[in-house]
Protein backbone atom coordinates (compact mmCIF):
# COMPACT_ATOMS: atom_id res chain seq x y z
CA UNK A 1 0.00 0.00 0.00
CA UNK A 2 2.76 2.43 0.89
CA UNK A 3 4.30 1.88 -2.53
CA UNK A 4 1.06 2.79 -4.34
CA UNK A 5 0.53 5.75 -2.06
CA UNK A 6 4.11 6.90 -2.62
CA UNK A 7 3.71 6.69 -6.39
CA UNK A 8 0.48 8.69 -6.27
CA UNK A 9 2.10 11.20 -3.96
CA UNK A 10 5.07 11.41 -6.32
CA UNK A 11 2.77 12.43 -9.17
CA UNK A 12 1.37 15.28 -7.07
CA UNK A 13 4.84 16.43 -6.07
CA UNK A 14 6.04 16.25 -9.65
CA UNK A 15 3.09 18.35 -10.77
CA UNK A 16 4.11 21.06 -8.31
CA UNK A 17 7.87 20.85 -8.70
CA UNK A 18 8.30 20.25 -12.44
CA UNK A 19 6.91 23.59 -13.69
CA UNK A 20 8.96 25.51 -11.15
CA UNK A 21 12.12 23.52 -11.77
CA UNK A 22 11.73 23.84 -15.54
CA UNK A 23 11.25 27.58 -15.25
CA UNK A 24 14.37 27.99 -13.13
CA UNK A 25 16.42 25.86 -15.56
CA UNK A 26 15.26 27.87 -18.52
CA UNK A 27 16.70 31.07 -17.08
CA UNK A 28 20.47 31.25 -17.45
CA UNK A 29 22.53 32.78 -14.63
CA UNK A 30 23.41 35.66 -16.96
CA UNK A 31 19.80 36.51 -17.66
CA UNK A 32 19.00 36.08 -13.96
CA UNK A 33 21.68 38.58 -12.96
CA UNK A 34 20.64 40.99 -15.68
CA UNK A 35 16.99 40.82 -14.60
CA UNK A 36 17.91 41.16 -10.95
CA UNK A 37 19.79 44.34 -11.87
CA UNK A 38 16.86 45.75 -13.87
CA UNK A 39 15.73 48.91 -12.12
CA UNK A 40 12.04 48.37 -12.85
CA UNK A 41 12.19 44.79 -11.53
CA UNK A 42 14.07 45.80 -8.37
CA UNK A 43 11.72 48.67 -7.73
CA UNK A 44 8.65 46.48 -8.10
CA UNK A 45 10.06 43.78 -5.83
CA UNK A 46 10.92 46.31 -3.13
CA UNK A 47 7.43 47.76 -3.49
CA UNK A 48 5.81 44.33 -3.24
CA UNK A 49 7.83 43.42 -0.15
CA UNK A 50 7.18 46.56 1.85
CA UNK A 51 3.51 46.94 0.96
CA UNK A 52 2.81 43.35 1.95
CA UNK A 53 4.82 43.72 5.13
CA UNK A 54 3.10 46.97 6.04
CA UNK A 55 -0.35 45.53 5.31
CA UNK A 56 0.43 42.56 7.57
CA UNK A 57 1.75 44.73 10.39
CA UNK A 58 -1.15 47.21 10.29
CA UNK A 59 -3.85 44.58 10.23
CA UNK A 60 -2.20 42.33 12.82
CA UNK A 61 -2.98 44.92 15.51
CA UNK A 62 -6.69 44.26 15.04
CA UNK A 63 -6.64 40.72 13.66
CA UNK A 64 -4.79 39.02 16.55
CA UNK A 65 -7.25 40.26 19.21
CA UNK A 66 -10.10 39.20 16.92
CA UNK A 67 -8.55 35.75 16.63
CA UNK A 68 -8.37 35.55 20.43
CA UNK A 69 -12.04 36.44 20.73
CA UNK A 70 -12.93 33.79 18.19
CA UNK A 71 -10.91 31.18 20.09
CA UNK A 72 -12.19 32.01 23.56
CA UNK A 73 -15.35 34.09 23.68
CA UNK A 74 -18.84 32.82 23.06
CA UNK A 75 -21.09 35.34 21.36
CA UNK A 76 -24.11 35.34 19.06
CA UNK A 77 -23.38 35.14 15.33
CA UNK A 78 -19.99 33.57 16.04
CA UNK A 79 -20.51 31.12 13.22
CA UNK A 80 -21.36 34.02 10.95
CA UNK A 81 -18.18 35.87 11.94
CA UNK A 82 -16.08 32.76 11.37
CA UNK A 83 -17.67 32.36 7.97
CA UNK A 84 -17.09 36.00 7.11
CA UNK A 85 -13.41 35.66 7.83
CA UNK A 86 -13.12 32.82 5.35
CA UNK A 87 -14.96 34.78 2.66
CA UNK A 88 -11.87 36.32 1.02
CA UNK A 89 -10.51 32.81 0.34
CA UNK A 90 -13.63 31.90 -1.60
CA UNK A 91 -14.19 35.16 -3.46
CA UNK A 92 -12.49 35.33 -6.85
CA UNK A 93 -9.57 37.72 -6.66
CA UNK A 94 -10.66 39.86 -9.53
CA UNK A 95 -14.12 40.18 -7.99
CA UNK A 96 -12.48 41.16 -4.70
CA UNK A 97 -10.65 43.89 -6.57
CA UNK A 98 -13.91 45.10 -8.05
CA UNK A 99 -15.52 45.13 -4.59
CA UNK A 100 -12.65 47.09 -3.01
CA UNK A 101 -12.62 49.53 -5.92
CA UNK A 102 -16.33 50.11 -5.34
CA UNK A 103 -15.66 51.24 -1.77
CA UNK A 104 -12.36 53.03 -2.08
CA UNK A 105 -12.57 54.69 -5.51
CA UNK A 106 -12.28 58.50 -5.52
CA UNK A 107 -16.00 59.18 -5.79
CA UNK A 108 -17.13 57.12 -2.74
CA UNK A 109 -17.53 58.37 0.82
CA UNK A 110 -14.63 56.27 2.11
CA UNK A 111 -12.47 57.24 -0.85
CA UNK A 112 -13.16 60.95 -0.28
CA UNK A 113 -12.56 60.69 3.46
CA UNK A 114 -9.21 58.97 3.03
CA UNK A 115 -8.41 61.31 0.09
CA UNK A 116 -8.82 64.26 2.47
CA UNK A 117 -6.19 62.62 4.70
CA UNK A 118 -3.90 62.35 1.71
CA UNK A 119 -4.35 58.59 1.34
CA UNK A 120 -5.04 57.54 -2.24
CA UNK A 121 -6.30 54.02 -2.80
CA UNK A 122 -6.78 53.79 -6.54
CA UNK A 123 -3.35 53.58 -8.11
CA UNK A 124 -1.78 54.20 -4.68
CA UNK A 125 0.13 52.28 -2.03
CA UNK A 126 -2.91 52.23 0.25
CA UNK A 127 -4.90 50.51 -2.50
CA UNK A 128 -2.22 47.86 -2.96
CA UNK A 129 -2.10 47.23 0.78
CA UNK A 130 -5.88 47.04 1.05
CA UNK A 131 -6.07 44.55 -1.81
CA UNK A 132 -3.26 42.46 -0.30
CA UNK A 133 -4.79 42.57 3.18
CA UNK A 134 -8.26 41.68 1.92
CA UNK A 135 -7.15 38.40 0.37
CA UNK A 136 -4.55 37.48 3.01
CA UNK A 137 -6.26 38.35 6.31
CA UNK A 138 -7.92 34.91 6.70
CA UNK A 139 -4.50 33.28 6.92
CA UNK A 140 -3.42 35.37 9.89
CA UNK A 141 -6.76 35.19 11.68
CA UNK A 142 -7.22 31.45 11.22
CA UNK A 143 -3.67 30.58 12.24
CA UNK A 144 -3.83 32.81 15.31
CA UNK A 145 -7.26 31.54 16.28
CA UNK A 146 -6.09 27.95 16.06
CA UNK A 147 -2.99 28.89 18.04
CA UNK A 148 -5.03 30.49 20.81
CA UNK A 149 -7.48 27.61 20.80
CA UNK A 150 -4.59 25.15 21.25
CA UNK A 151 -3.44 26.91 24.41
CA UNK A 152 -5.10 24.95 27.24
CA UNK A 153 -7.51 27.38 28.83
CA UNK A 154 -6.36 26.03 32.16
CA UNK A 155 -3.23 28.20 31.94
CA UNK A 156 -5.36 31.30 31.55
CA UNK A 157 -7.59 30.16 34.40
CA UNK A 158 -4.56 29.69 36.63
CA UNK A 159 -3.26 33.15 35.75
CA UNK A 160 -6.66 34.70 36.48
CA UNK A 161 -6.92 32.70 39.70
CA UNK A 162 -3.52 34.10 40.73
CA UNK A 163 -4.98 37.57 40.31
CA UNK A 164 -3.74 38.58 36.84
CA UNK A 165 -6.00 40.91 34.87
CA UNK A 166 -7.47 39.69 31.57
CA UNK A 167 -5.12 41.95 29.62
CA UNK A 168 -2.06 40.78 31.60
CA UNK A 169 -3.17 37.18 31.09
CA UNK A 170 -3.50 37.86 27.35
CA UNK A 171 -0.01 39.31 26.99
CA UNK A 172 1.89 37.09 29.46
CA UNK A 173 0.13 33.76 28.91
CA UNK A 174 -2.03 33.56 25.77
CA UNK A 175 0.20 35.41 23.29
CA UNK A 176 3.51 33.78 24.32
CA UNK A 177 1.98 30.31 24.29
CA UNK A 178 0.31 30.92 20.91
CA UNK A 179 3.30 32.80 19.53
CA UNK A 180 4.32 30.05 17.16
CA UNK A 181 0.96 30.02 15.43
CA UNK A 182 0.70 33.79 15.40
CA UNK A 183 4.14 34.18 13.83
CA UNK A 184 3.35 31.48 11.33
CA UNK A 185 0.11 33.32 10.53
CA UNK A 186 2.01 36.56 10.04
CA UNK A 187 4.45 34.84 7.69
CA UNK A 188 1.59 33.28 5.73
CA UNK A 189 -0.26 36.58 5.47
CA UNK A 190 2.87 38.35 4.31
CA UNK A 191 3.59 35.62 1.74
CA UNK A 192 0.01 35.53 0.52
CA UNK A 193 -0.04 39.32 0.20
CA UNK A 194 3.13 39.30 -1.92
CA UNK A 195 1.66 36.72 -4.27
CA UNK A 196 -1.63 38.55 -4.85
CA UNK A 197 -2.30 39.62 -8.42
CA UNK A 198 -6.00 39.68 -9.32
CA UNK A 199 -7.25 42.08 -6.67
CA UNK A 200 -4.24 44.39 -6.94
CA UNK A 201 -4.28 44.71 -10.72
CA UNK A 202 -7.83 46.02 -10.63
CA UNK A 203 -7.37 48.54 -7.83
CA UNK A 204 -3.79 49.62 -8.69
CA UNK A 205 -2.17 48.71 -11.99
CA UNK A 206 0.40 51.36 -11.11
CA UNK A 207 2.60 51.57 -9.04
CA UNK A 208 3.42 48.14 -10.37
CA UNK A 209 3.97 45.29 -7.93
CA UNK A 210 5.94 42.37 -9.32
CA UNK A 211 3.00 40.00 -10.04
CA UNK A 212 1.50 42.78 -12.17
CA UNK A 213 4.86 43.44 -13.81
CA UNK A 214 5.14 39.77 -14.75
CA UNK A 215 1.70 39.89 -16.31
CA UNK A 216 2.55 43.07 -18.20
CA UNK A 217 5.82 41.72 -19.54
CA UNK A 218 4.02 38.53 -20.60
CA UNK A 219 1.34 40.53 -22.38
CA UNK A 220 3.74 42.98 -23.99
CA UNK A 221 6.77 40.80 -24.80
CA UNK A 222 5.76 37.18 -24.25
CA UNK A 223 6.78 34.21 -22.12
CA UNK A 224 10.50 34.65 -22.64
CA UNK A 225 10.51 38.07 -21.01
CA UNK A 226 8.07 37.25 -18.22
CA UNK A 227 10.03 34.19 -17.11
CA UNK A 228 13.20 35.82 -15.72
CA UNK A 229 11.14 38.26 -13.67
CA UNK A 230 9.10 35.34 -12.30
CA UNK A 231 12.26 33.45 -11.40
CA UNK A 232 13.87 36.41 -9.65
CA UNK A 233 10.69 37.21 -7.74
CA UNK A 234 10.02 33.63 -6.73
CA UNK A 235 13.61 33.39 -5.50
CA UNK A 236 13.11 36.47 -3.34
CA UNK A 237 9.80 35.10 -2.04
CA UNK A 238 11.35 31.76 -1.18
CA UNK A 239 14.32 33.30 0.59
CA UNK A 240 12.01 35.43 2.68
CA UNK A 241 9.64 32.56 3.35
CA UNK A 242 12.36 30.12 4.35
CA UNK A 243 14.13 32.63 6.57
CA UNK A 244 10.92 33.67 8.30
CA UNK A 245 9.78 30.09 8.71
CA UNK A 246 13.05 28.98 10.22
CA UNK A 247 13.05 31.92 12.63
CA UNK A 248 9.54 31.15 13.77
CA UNK A 249 10.27 27.42 13.79
CA UNK A 250 13.03 27.90 16.33
CA UNK A 251 10.53 28.65 19.06
CA UNK A 252 9.75 25.52 20.93
CA UNK A 253 6.36 23.95 20.51
CA UNK A 254 4.56 23.69 23.83
CA UNK A 255 1.56 21.67 22.70
CA UNK A 256 0.63 19.55 19.77
Amino acid sequence: MFLVFSLLGGVVLLFIIAPLAAMFLQVSPGVFAETAADKEVRGSIMLTLWTSMAATAVFAIAAVPLAYLLARAQFPLKRFVNGTIDLPIVIPHSAAGIALLGVFSRDTIAGKAFGALGIEFVGGYAGIMAAMAFVSLPFLINASRDGFAAVPQRYENVARNLGASPIRTFFTISVPLASRSIVSGLVLMFARGMSEFGAVIIIAYHPMITPVLIFERFGAFGLKYARPVSVVFISVCLVFFIVLRSISGEKRKFFQ
Binding site: P152, R154, Y155, N157, V158, A159, R160, N161, L162, G163, A164, S165, R168, T172, I173, P176, L177, F254
Partner: protein, 309 residues
Protein backbone atom coordinates in the same frame (compact mmCIF):
# COMPACT_ATOMS: atom_id res chain seq x y z
CA UNK B 1 -13.30 29.04 33.78
CA UNK B 2 -16.85 27.98 33.22
CA UNK B 3 -18.85 30.70 34.92
CA UNK B 4 -21.18 29.22 37.55
CA UNK B 5 -24.89 29.24 36.77
CA UNK B 6 -25.66 30.55 40.21
CA UNK B 7 -24.29 30.64 43.71
CA UNK B 8 -21.84 32.70 45.72
CA UNK B 9 -18.75 31.80 47.69
CA UNK B 10 -18.14 33.28 51.12
CA UNK B 11 -14.79 33.02 52.89
CA UNK B 12 -14.84 34.04 56.55
CA UNK B 13 -18.08 35.82 55.79
CA UNK B 14 -16.59 37.85 52.96
CA UNK B 15 -17.88 37.29 49.45
CA UNK B 16 -15.29 35.78 47.11
CA UNK B 17 -14.96 37.78 43.89
CA UNK B 18 -14.44 36.01 40.60
CA UNK B 19 -11.57 38.45 40.16
CA UNK B 20 -9.01 36.94 42.48
CA UNK B 21 -7.14 40.22 42.87
CA UNK B 22 -9.91 41.43 45.16
CA UNK B 23 -11.37 39.80 48.24
CA UNK B 24 -10.21 36.61 49.92
CA UNK B 25 -8.01 34.43 47.79
CA UNK B 26 -8.89 30.86 46.86
CA UNK B 27 -5.89 29.30 45.11
CA UNK B 28 -6.46 26.30 42.90
CA UNK B 29 -3.92 23.53 42.34
CA UNK B 30 -4.77 21.32 39.40
CA UNK B 31 -4.19 17.62 38.94
CA UNK B 32 -1.90 18.31 35.96
CA UNK B 33 -0.22 21.23 37.77
CA UNK B 34 -0.71 23.56 34.76
CA UNK B 35 2.66 25.25 35.26
CA UNK B 36 3.24 27.93 32.65
CA UNK B 37 5.51 26.09 30.23
CA UNK B 38 7.19 29.21 28.83
CA UNK B 39 8.35 30.49 32.19
CA UNK B 40 10.97 29.27 34.62
CA UNK B 41 9.99 27.84 37.98
CA UNK B 42 10.95 31.17 39.55
CA UNK B 43 8.72 33.10 37.14
CA UNK B 44 5.88 30.67 37.77
CA UNK B 45 6.02 31.14 41.52
CA UNK B 46 6.43 34.91 41.19
CA UNK B 47 3.57 35.25 38.69
CA UNK B 48 0.80 35.91 41.20
CA UNK B 49 2.91 38.43 43.13
CA UNK B 50 3.01 41.06 40.42
CA UNK B 51 0.47 43.72 41.31
CA UNK B 52 0.15 42.27 44.82
CA UNK B 53 3.68 42.95 45.99
CA UNK B 54 5.17 46.07 44.45
CA UNK B 55 8.76 45.81 45.71
CA UNK B 56 10.91 43.46 43.73
CA UNK B 57 13.18 42.47 46.67
CA UNK B 58 10.14 41.45 48.68
CA UNK B 59 8.84 39.36 45.79
CA UNK B 60 12.19 37.64 45.50
CA UNK B 61 12.27 36.99 49.22
CA UNK B 62 8.86 35.37 49.12
CA UNK B 63 9.75 33.18 46.18
CA UNK B 64 12.94 32.08 47.89
CA UNK B 65 11.22 31.36 51.20
CA UNK B 66 8.59 29.21 49.52
CA UNK B 67 11.18 27.41 47.45
CA UNK B 68 13.07 26.57 50.63
CA UNK B 69 9.93 25.40 52.39
CA UNK B 70 8.96 23.12 49.52
CA UNK B 71 12.53 22.05 48.80
CA UNK B 72 12.61 23.25 45.22
CA UNK B 73 15.41 25.81 45.55
CA UNK B 74 17.58 23.92 43.09
CA UNK B 75 14.81 23.99 40.46
CA UNK B 76 14.19 27.74 40.35
CA UNK B 77 15.98 28.31 37.05
CA UNK B 78 14.45 25.36 35.23
CA UNK B 79 11.51 25.19 32.85
CA UNK B 80 8.49 23.09 33.90
CA UNK B 81 8.97 20.71 30.97
CA UNK B 82 12.11 19.34 32.62
CA UNK B 83 10.54 18.58 36.01
CA UNK B 84 9.29 15.28 37.37
CA UNK B 85 5.67 14.92 38.47
CA UNK B 86 6.47 15.40 42.13
CA UNK B 87 8.68 18.43 41.44
CA UNK B 88 5.97 19.98 39.28
CA UNK B 89 3.41 19.51 42.01
CA UNK B 90 5.70 21.21 44.54
CA UNK B 91 6.15 24.14 42.17
CA UNK B 92 2.40 24.32 41.60
CA UNK B 93 1.87 24.39 45.35
CA UNK B 94 4.49 27.10 45.75
CA UNK B 95 2.83 29.17 43.03
CA UNK B 96 -0.57 28.80 44.66
CA UNK B 97 0.79 29.57 48.15
CA UNK B 98 2.78 32.61 47.01
CA UNK B 99 -0.38 34.72 46.92
CA UNK B 100 -1.15 33.69 50.53
CA UNK B 101 -4.58 32.23 49.91
CA UNK B 102 -7.24 31.83 52.56
CA UNK B 103 -8.22 28.53 50.99
CA UNK B 104 -6.21 26.09 48.94
CA UNK B 105 -8.35 24.14 46.51
CA UNK B 106 -6.70 20.88 45.44
CA UNK B 107 -8.06 19.03 42.45
CA UNK B 108 -6.77 15.43 42.64
CA UNK B 109 -3.27 16.66 43.49
CA UNK B 110 -1.82 13.16 43.87
CA UNK B 111 -3.46 11.26 41.05
CA UNK B 112 -0.92 12.13 38.37
CA UNK B 113 2.05 11.26 40.59
CA UNK B 114 3.88 8.02 41.12
CA UNK B 115 3.88 6.26 44.48
CA UNK B 116 7.05 7.87 45.78
CA UNK B 117 6.12 11.42 44.78
CA UNK B 118 2.70 10.93 46.35
CA UNK B 119 4.18 10.29 49.76
CA UNK B 120 6.25 13.46 49.52
CA UNK B 121 3.38 15.68 48.43
CA UNK B 122 1.05 14.08 50.97
CA UNK B 123 3.34 14.94 53.83
CA UNK B 124 3.74 18.50 52.52
CA UNK B 125 -0.03 18.85 52.39
CA UNK B 126 -0.33 17.52 55.90
CA UNK B 127 2.20 20.05 57.17
CA UNK B 128 0.48 22.89 55.30
CA UNK B 129 -2.79 21.86 56.82
CA UNK B 130 -1.28 21.89 60.30
CA UNK B 131 0.11 25.36 59.61
CA UNK B 132 -3.50 26.55 59.51
CA UNK B 133 -4.44 26.90 55.85
CA UNK B 134 -7.88 25.56 54.94
CA UNK B 135 -7.74 23.03 52.14
CA UNK B 136 -10.50 21.68 49.95
CA UNK B 137 -9.18 18.47 48.50
CA UNK B 138 -11.07 16.83 45.62
CA UNK B 139 -10.27 13.15 45.17
CA UNK B 140 -11.86 9.87 44.24
CA UNK B 141 -9.35 7.92 46.32
CA UNK B 142 -10.77 6.97 49.69
CA UNK B 143 -7.38 6.32 51.27
CA UNK B 144 -6.21 9.73 50.14
CA UNK B 145 -9.31 11.33 51.59
CA UNK B 146 -9.07 9.75 55.03
CA UNK B 147 -5.31 10.18 55.24
CA UNK B 148 -5.61 13.96 54.83
CA UNK B 149 -9.07 15.17 55.67
CA UNK B 150 -10.68 16.29 58.89
CA UNK B 151 -14.06 16.43 57.18
CA UNK B 152 -15.18 14.45 54.15
CA UNK B 153 -18.11 15.08 51.81
CA UNK B 154 -18.94 12.25 49.42
CA UNK B 155 -20.41 13.32 46.10
CA UNK B 156 -22.45 11.04 43.86
CA UNK B 157 -23.71 12.39 40.56
CA UNK B 158 -22.97 15.98 41.47
CA UNK B 159 -24.72 15.95 44.83
CA UNK B 160 -23.20 15.64 48.29
CA UNK B 161 -24.75 12.41 49.61
CA UNK B 162 -22.96 12.33 52.95
CA UNK B 163 -20.57 14.48 54.89
CA UNK B 164 -18.88 14.18 58.22
CA UNK B 165 -15.52 13.32 59.71
CA UNK B 166 -13.68 10.32 58.28
CA UNK B 167 -14.78 8.10 61.14
CA UNK B 168 -18.46 8.90 60.64
CA UNK B 169 -18.25 8.23 56.93
CA UNK B 170 -16.45 4.97 57.55
CA UNK B 171 -18.66 3.74 60.34
CA UNK B 172 -22.03 4.85 59.04
CA UNK B 173 -22.13 4.92 55.28
CA UNK B 174 -25.55 6.16 54.28
CA UNK B 175 -25.74 4.40 50.92
CA UNK B 176 -24.25 1.50 49.04
CA UNK B 177 -22.25 4.02 46.99
CA UNK B 178 -20.59 5.43 50.08
CA UNK B 179 -20.09 1.96 51.56
CA UNK B 180 -18.33 0.69 48.44
CA UNK B 181 -16.28 3.88 48.43
CA UNK B 182 -15.03 3.12 51.93
CA UNK B 183 -14.21 -0.44 50.96
CA UNK B 184 -17.05 -2.25 52.72
CA UNK B 185 -17.84 -5.37 50.73
CA UNK B 186 -20.97 -6.55 52.47
CA UNK B 187 -23.73 -3.99 52.33
CA UNK B 188 -27.33 -5.09 52.10
CA UNK B 189 -30.61 -3.29 51.93
CA UNK B 190 -33.54 -4.65 53.87
CA UNK B 191 -35.71 -4.06 56.90
CA UNK B 192 -35.15 -4.38 60.62
CA UNK B 193 -37.64 -6.13 62.86
CA UNK B 194 -37.38 -5.79 66.64
CA UNK B 195 -37.38 -8.91 68.82
CA UNK B 196 -37.01 -9.30 72.53
CA UNK B 197 -35.19 -12.25 74.06
CA UNK B 198 -35.42 -11.96 77.79
CA UNK B 199 -33.44 -8.93 78.87
CA UNK B 200 -31.42 -8.37 75.65
CA UNK B 201 -32.92 -6.56 72.76
CA UNK B 202 -31.87 -7.89 69.39
CA UNK B 203 -32.89 -6.88 65.93
CA UNK B 204 -33.70 -9.22 63.12
CA UNK B 205 -32.77 -7.96 59.71
CA UNK B 206 -34.48 -9.35 56.64
CA UNK B 207 -32.62 -9.10 53.36
CA UNK B 208 -33.38 -11.31 50.39
CA UNK B 209 -33.74 -14.91 51.60
CA UNK B 210 -31.69 -14.36 54.78
CA UNK B 211 -32.60 -13.41 58.28
CA UNK B 212 -29.76 -11.92 60.28
CA UNK B 213 -29.42 -11.11 63.93
CA UNK B 214 -28.24 -7.61 64.58
CA UNK B 215 -27.28 -6.13 67.93
CA UNK B 216 -28.97 -2.79 67.65
CA UNK B 217 -31.09 -0.45 69.59
CA UNK B 218 -32.45 1.34 66.54
CA UNK B 219 -36.10 1.62 65.74
CA UNK B 220 -37.46 -0.98 63.35
CA UNK B 221 -37.71 0.10 59.72
CA UNK B 222 -35.92 -0.01 56.43
CA UNK B 223 -32.19 0.40 56.28
CA UNK B 224 -28.88 -1.19 55.49
CA UNK B 225 -26.57 -3.72 57.05
CA UNK B 226 -22.82 -3.28 56.67
CA UNK B 227 -20.45 -6.11 57.59
CA UNK B 228 -16.71 -5.74 57.19
CA UNK B 229 -15.27 -8.73 55.40
CA UNK B 230 -12.69 -9.14 58.19
CA UNK B 231 -15.52 -9.88 60.60
CA UNK B 232 -16.85 -12.80 58.58
CA UNK B 233 -15.25 -16.17 59.34
CA UNK B 234 -15.44 -19.39 57.38
CA UNK B 235 -15.53 -23.00 58.42
CA UNK B 236 -15.84 -26.27 56.57
CA UNK B 237 -18.25 -27.88 59.04
CA UNK B 238 -21.22 -26.29 60.74
CA UNK B 239 -19.62 -24.34 63.59
CA UNK B 240 -20.58 -24.66 67.21
CA UNK B 241 -20.24 -21.06 68.15
CA UNK B 242 -21.89 -18.20 69.91
CA UNK B 243 -22.16 -16.31 66.64
CA UNK B 244 -25.79 -15.65 65.89
CA UNK B 245 -25.45 -15.55 62.15
CA UNK B 246 -24.46 -18.85 60.58
CA UNK B 247 -25.24 -19.55 56.93
CA UNK B 248 -24.26 -22.26 54.51
CA UNK B 249 -23.18 -21.31 51.01
CA UNK B 250 -21.06 -22.02 47.99
CA UNK B 251 -17.81 -20.26 47.17
CA UNK B 252 -18.32 -18.29 43.95
CA UNK B 253 -15.14 -16.25 43.76
CA UNK B 254 -11.68 -16.09 45.31
CA UNK B 255 -9.87 -12.77 45.08
CA UNK B 256 -6.35 -12.45 46.46
CA UNK B 257 -5.70 -8.92 47.78
CA UNK B 258 -2.91 -7.06 49.50
CA UNK B 259 -3.72 -8.35 52.96
CA UNK B 260 -5.31 -11.76 52.64
CA UNK B 261 -7.78 -13.33 50.31
CA UNK B 262 -11.38 -12.33 49.76
CA UNK B 263 -13.80 -15.19 49.40
CA UNK B 264 -17.25 -14.54 47.95
CA UNK B 265 -19.86 -17.03 49.17
CA UNK B 266 -23.33 -17.35 47.71
CA UNK B 267 -25.67 -17.92 50.65
CA UNK B 268 -28.69 -16.65 48.87
CA UNK B 269 -26.97 -13.30 48.90
CA UNK B 270 -23.26 -12.92 48.21
CA UNK B 271 -21.23 -12.49 51.40
CA UNK B 272 -17.55 -11.66 51.22
CA UNK B 273 -15.16 -12.96 53.87
CA UNK B 274 -11.54 -11.96 54.20
CA UNK B 275 -9.21 -14.75 55.32
CA UNK B 276 -5.45 -15.06 55.39
CA UNK B 277 -3.71 -16.70 52.48
CA UNK B 278 -2.55 -19.40 54.86
CA UNK B 279 -6.02 -20.45 55.98
CA UNK B 280 -7.21 -20.25 52.41
CA UNK B 281 -4.70 -22.90 51.38
CA UNK B 282 -5.05 -24.95 54.60
CA UNK B 283 -8.81 -25.14 54.14
CA UNK B 284 -8.39 -25.94 50.44
CA UNK B 285 -10.88 -23.27 49.54
CA UNK B 286 -11.88 -23.25 45.89
CA UNK B 287 -14.79 -22.19 43.78
CA UNK B 288 -17.88 -24.41 44.14
CA UNK B 289 -16.92 -25.69 47.59
CA UNK B 290 -19.60 -25.63 50.29
CA UNK B 291 -18.65 -23.67 53.40
CA UNK B 292 -20.28 -22.12 56.45
CA UNK B 293 -20.01 -18.42 57.06
CA UNK B 294 -20.54 -16.85 60.43
CA UNK B 295 -20.43 -13.41 61.89
CA UNK B 296 -21.41 -11.99 65.21
CA UNK B 297 -24.53 -9.97 65.65
CA UNK B 298 -22.29 -7.12 66.84
CA UNK B 299 -20.33 -7.22 63.59
CA UNK B 300 -23.41 -6.42 61.56
CA UNK B 301 -23.90 -2.68 61.73
CA UNK B 302 -27.41 -1.44 61.03
CA UNK B 303 -27.71 1.94 59.28
CA UNK B 304 -31.27 3.24 59.15
CA UNK B 305 -32.46 4.52 55.78
CA UNK B 306 -32.63 8.31 55.68
CA UNK B 307 -36.22 8.38 54.48
CA UNK B 308 -38.77 5.67 53.71
CA UNK B 309 -38.00 4.29 50.25
Amino acid sequence: MTPPDSGEIFVDGIRHESNAAKGPQISIVYQDQALFPHMTVWQNIEYGLHGRVKAKPERSARVRALARELQIEQLLGRKPGTLSGGESQRVALARALAVRPKILMLDEPLSSLDIRARAGIRSILRELNRSGITMIHVTHDYEEAISLASRIAVMERGTIVQSGNPREIFMCPKSEFVARFTGIKNFYEGSLVRTKHGAATTGTFLTGPLTMSVAVDARPGNGFIAIRSEDVTLSLAKPESSARNIFEGTIVDIIPTGNGVEIAIDTGIDIVARVTGQSCSEMNLECGKKVWVQFKATAARFIPAASPP
